[in-house]
Amino acid sequence: MAEISSEGGNKKHSGKVKGKKMSTRVDLTPMVDLGFLLITFFMLTTTLNKPSAMELNVPVKEKETVDPPPMKEGKVLTLLLDKNDKIYWYVGLSEAKLDSTDYSPEGVRKLLIDQRDRVARDYAQDSLRDVVVLLKPSNKSRYKNMVDILDEIHITEIKRYALLGISKAEEDYIKQPNAKLNDLMLKYAN
């Protein structure tokens, strides 16, 4: 029991009214309870860490559609993010073959690392030997999907990437993976 006592030992009530000696002990237990209640209040209602933020740069939208600078197909990896946490990917355009992966480290992170290394190896003679990742989330994917991929791109230290919208041709391509992407794109080009 908490107490401050001016003198030690018990003091019994002696007699009736006159000469009543009251003990001067103060029980500090409620004080301690109060202190801990206040601590708990402050621990729950305040925050010590500021939320962290991730930078996102998007390309400037031009008034007229400017053709992107030509680049070798083999350097371009396109990631299509679909609903239910599905990722589809293909390399290049004319010889594209659709494949899929997931969000685990063995999935998309391994894919990014493999592609990065492949491009660095195959195009070692070029001045630009970085892989370019085009990230195209579909409207049905979750925000978390996009943030996770951007995060993986940062983790694998890929410097060149772009966030774009998915095209109708690509949405069809997901449904018909055996079709040729080029044909689908031509279909929608008119």
């Binding site: 029991m1 209602t45 305040t46 500021k50 740069n57 993010l81 480290p105 925000y143 978390k144 230290e157």
Partner: protein, 215 residues
């Protein structure tokens, strides 16, 4: 046996020290922590390895899983400027008292322009309840009506009036499960106003590249 009576030791513990510790901890928390920002709706952000801390004087767009958009600014003067401009530009007919309530509310708000007058006349509890419960709360940002674009533009003007050298920074705080479509539209709205750099608020995640104890 009466001769070998065990001396009675007092069982009371002196709690003065415990009390001191409790108040020291309390003082620490009171001085070092900042009060949590009231959020219009509860959001669980996705995690990322990004460690850049958030700055001050920003415009935060909070998006909940249903795709409703709420706006908040942490600078009181910016808020004042913003509501004055919106009131004028959109003829909202807000009284000075309602505009003052707006300027004093640090937590976000999300109301279509048509409901602005009635919303800011409500007391605080009703406003919070409105935002939590009404399905069509939030600032509209779709192909037919894009009020978000107006808010963003006026916010930039308001911020520039107060602080001409520092342009307003934009931050998107969206829930993990928000559909990408909403985010795409917000990004589009910002791009149309030539805002190409913004931040996404994320929770902290361990960087697999960094080893333990490395900076």
């Amino acid at each position: 046996m009466p001769k070998n009576k065990i001396a009675r030791k007092p069982t009371t513990i002196d709690m003065t020290a415990m009390c001191d510790v409790a108040f020291l901890l309390l003082t620490f928390f009171m001085l070092t922590a900042k009060m949590k920002q009231e959020e219009p709706v509860k959001i669980t952000t996705p995690t990322s390895i990004a460690e850049v801390k958030l700055e001050k004087d920003i415009l935060t767009m909070t998006v909940d899983p249903k795709g409703r958009i709420f706006l908040s600014m942490d600078n009181h003067n910016y808020r004042q400027g913003l509501i004055a401009r919106m009131n004028e530009q959109k003829q909202l007919d807000l009284t000075d008292k309602e505009m003052a309530t707006f300027a004093n509310t640090e937590a976000g708000f999300g109301v279509p322009l048509s409901k602005m007058k009635s919303y800011w006349g409500l007391p605080t509890r009703d406003r919070e309840r409105y935002m939590a419960e009404t399905a069509d709360a939030g600032i509209p940002c779709d192909s037919t009506t894009n009020e978000l674009s107006e808010w963003v533009l006026q916010a930039r003007y308001a911020a520039a009036e107060v602080n001409p050298t520092a342009p307003l920074r934009f931050v998107i705080k969206a829930d993990q499960n928000t559909e990408y479509e909403v985010i795409a539209r917000i990004v589009q709205t910002l791009q149309d106003q030539k805002i190409n750099r913004f931040n996404l608020i994320t929770g902290l995640e361990n960087d697999p590249n960094k080893k333990e104890g490395e900076e």
